[in-house]
């Protein structure tokens, strides 16, 4: 319970800081909308083409936008050495990690919820046919991005080239989760009947989340205390 209370305090602080400065929100939102807009003009896709790559396009945008958010996660603690005060506090490394991952998740999921209708308008898609299932899959994919991203954000926070290092470490690690969530999103966006391999991709995504959440929580203390 104490760990969750500490994690909630960290998440609330991160969200309050972000909503006050809007550093990540503004850049991520404008980046996402502009990419969706540009691609819709560049390809002028037909409904069949959207059924083919709609999920991929959406998650490509979310993955790049997500890097902007997770990059700030631990970097936010660098001015005034706030990271030292957090590490010296009774909050464990695991609760710091969880709090920051939850804050990233909330920000990313909020941006995805804004981007979905924009995507629907630009690409002429009735995306809400399987709304709850789609939101569930988005939440699972977003947690994968937030969890692994926060972990690598902690790992690279003291590096001079962290903006470069974070995507280099993050994207290869995310490939299984991105593959799964793209396939699942594709199916749900087009409103087709669920294919037989749907549950395989879903289990892969859930398994990925369980494995990386456990690993990150376990290793957070070692990463933060050097």
């Amino acid at each position: 319970m104490t760990m969750l209370r500490h994690a909630a305090a960290i998440a609330a602080k991160d969200l309050r800081s972000e909503f006050r400065t809007k550093e990540s929100i503004n850049s991520t939102l404008s980046f996402s909308v502009v990419i969706l807009l540009l691609f819709s003009f560049a390809f002028d896709p037909s409904p069949d083409m959207i059924a083919e790559f709609g999920g991929g396009l959406l998650w490509m945008v979310f993955a790049f936008a997500g890097a902007l958010i997770v990059n700030r996660s631990f970097a936010r603690e660098l001015p005034n050495d706030c990271i030292d005060v957090l590490v010296a506090s009774p909050a464990s490394g695991a609760s710091l990690f969880l709090g920051k991952a939850v804050a990233c998740f909330v920000l990313l999921f909020g941006i995805e919820c804004i981007c979905l209708p924009v995507f629907g308008i630009f690409y002429n898609i009735t995306w809400w046919r399987s709304l709850w299932a789609l939101l569930g899959v988005l939440a699972l994919g977003t947690w994968a991005l937030a969890c692994v991203g926060t972990f690598f954000s902690a790992l690279t926070v003291n590096l001079r080239l962290r903006e470069l290092m974070l995507p280099m470490l993050l994207y290869p690690m995310l490939i299984p989760a991105l593959l799964s969530v793209m396939m699942l999103t594709n199916t749900l966006l087009t409103g087709q009947a669920l294919p037989p391999d749907f549950s395989v991709w879903l289990r892969l995504l859930v398994g990925f989340n369980i494995m990386f959440t456990t690993l990150s929580v376990y290793l957070a203390e070692t990463i933060l205390v050097r």
């Binding site: 305090a9 050495d81 205390v225």
Partner: protein, 233 residues
């Protein structure tokens, strides 16, 4: 016999091949105030960071009241004031203290009380980025004292403080000592440190060149310690 408030047992710390700390050993009793002195790069901050649980040792161990530093209960008893203020510029003073207060289980009433003690009540709801340097330092002091720590680790706490802030901090430290709080402070301001300290440690290139009670000579002559125990001695 109870365990010492702080016990360093053969602490070594390497950065690559370079030994920043070399076999540092001392015991400090509860309620004592240790002035940690040494030239730049002597290892004062490294030792303080290890005692605060911010960094691990390469060899040896530090125990606080007989417990491991990284135990959550131990960290709840430590107050940390580093080189920087450790506060979020975009949040207000009250939000900063409430955030850290939640981590230590401190109530909103205690936060208000500390804002009053450091004379920041009138600007408590303004963002910290709008504060003057002195105000930021006072808020940092409130943050370090907020949860009633039993061990205070202060890294050059008098640096960049104005007269009023130095007086405030000295008053708080004197009151804390009277309540039996153990204090370890690293500093280059020897006179201020000697007025507070009951013990003095001199680090010289990572080695503990001297550890002992503060004497009258040290209080009267700020150069005495370096002349007598420093590497040039």
């Amino acid at each position: 016999m109870s365990a010492p408030a702080v016990a360093a047992a053969g602490v070594w710390k390497y950065f690559g091949d370079y030994p920043a700390l070399r076999d540092v050993r001392f015991d400090l009793g509860a309620g004592e105030c240790l002035a940690l002195l040494g030239r730049n790069g002597a290892g004062k901050t490294t030792l303080l960071r290890i005692m605060g649980g911010l960094s691990g040792t390469s060899k040896g161990d530090v125990l606080i009241d007989g417990c491991a530093v990284r135990a959550s209960e131990t960290r709840a008893r430590i107050g940390w004031l580093g080189h920087s203020i450790g506060l979020y510029d975009e949040l207000t003073a009250r939000e900063n203290l409430r955030t850290f207060g939640r981590l230590y289980g401190v109530t909103a009433a205690t936060v208000s009380e500390w804002l009053q003690r450091v004379n920041l009540t009138h600007v408590a709801d303004a963002p910290v980025r709008e504060y003057s340097r002195g105000m930021r330092q006072r808020l940092a002091v409130a943050r370090a004292f907020l949860h009633g720590p039993r061990l205070l680790l202060l890294d050059e706490p008098f640096t960049s403080l104005d007269d009023k802030a130095i007086a405030l901090l000295q008053g708080l430290l004197t009151a804390a000592r009277a309540e039996g709080v153990t204090i370890i402070l690293s500093t280059h301001q020897i006179r201020e440190a000697m007025e507070l300290a009951s013990f003095v440690a001199l680090l010289d290139r990572g080695k503990l060149a001297h550890f002992g009670e503060r004497t009258a000579e040290m209080l009267n002559d700020p150069g005495y310690l370096y002349r007598t125990f420093g590497s040039a001695a």
